[in-house]
Symmetry: C2
Subunit: 197 residues, 2 copies
């Protein structure tokens, strides 16, 4: 029961912080959305900072765990690039508040930016960079492409899609399904848009 | 003189809105940053909504104008892709508040989202999509890649870089100069990361 109330509060807080950002949300609002008293929130989480911290920890922990599993297997680097992209989409679907929370932290870093946001993003980037290095060594990927940049290109192709098409539907013309976007993005990333390149 | 005060207020407002978002900034704060009285702001711009609207109009107008010129010339589509990417970087350098304002609007759309943000972004996307279509017809770009998606891939590679490395320095490992990132991103986009693809 204790766990259930805690989760209900955490879920309500996650959604509100994703929608409005940490400075824009009061604990009274979270209590109302979770259907509990404000005193319940202080009892369970202490103050608003501790609650926000718990939200970030859960979200970025989930992100790091989901993305890390990609690099556990023994697939070849190109397949891992594909799994990496698909794992990003899984995070987007299973934790729809994660990306808005990340973008808000990038725009207005909280006191937890270093220890939670930066740490987890760098950890995943490190694994992806290493995979790219391995791919260069095996002759799959071009030498001359900075592995850290290569990770950002791929991440960027998906990030902007999440930001533009999910958060603001209708920003861009309707252009087929998510699945089509994801598959083509991976294919373009891996093989390029220029014929015979 | 009138123009100078107007510009000073507009510049101060642009920076503050980019840093904190529209709901987080008071006209008193803008007046203080601009070194004018609050009454001066109401005299010049009316209320806070009108001021914010003027900021968005100036920023998104600059974006649309800068990006549109790319498609005026008679270069081949692949060169225009490169000019498009470089124009994005120019906007980022010359109007460093533009991208933060765009991201904030995507996260929390204001009443001006449709008429200013969406309109200008779609206009530029439309030009870029058409260029890609032309490139497919000429046999430069792959058939089977959705032109609207192709524009998003390229935009995304730059957007995330601006977001991650500029707004939160140190988020990603130091990886060489901006110029290196941009050139490689364009090359990867145009030719792909897989050897012989």
């Amino acid at each position: 029961m204790e766990t259930t109330i805690r989760d209900t509060v955490l879920n309500a807080a996650t959604r509100l912080y994703a929608d409005k950002g940490f400075p824009g949300v009061s604990s009274r609002e979270i209590a109302a959305a979770a259907g509990v008293g404000s005193d319940e929130i202080s009892r369970l989480f202490g103050n608003e900072e501790t609650l926000y911290r718990a939200v970030l920890e859960a979200q970025f922990g989930f992100y790091a765990a989901t993305m890390s599993t990609v690099f556990d297997g023994d697939e070849v680097p190109a397949i891992k690039v594909e799994l990496f992209a698909r794992a990003m989409c899984d995070v987007h679907k299973q934790a729809p508040c994660f990306f808005p929370l990340l973008y808000r932290e990038l725009l207005t870093p909280s006191p937890f930016f270093e220890e939670i946001v930066r740490k987890n993003i760098r950890h995943v980037a490190y694994l992806a960079d290493n995979n790219f290095v391995k791919g260069i060594r095996k002759g799959t990927f071009k030498r001359g492409v900075n592995p850290a940049h290569a990770t950002m290109y791929l991440a960027g192709m998906f990030h902007y899609y999440f930001l533009a098409s999910r958060l603001a539907p209708g920003l861009l013309p309707e252009t087929g399904s998510d699945e089509e976007y994801f598959s083509q993005a991976i294919a373009v990333y891996l093989s390029g848009v220029r014929k015979g390149a």
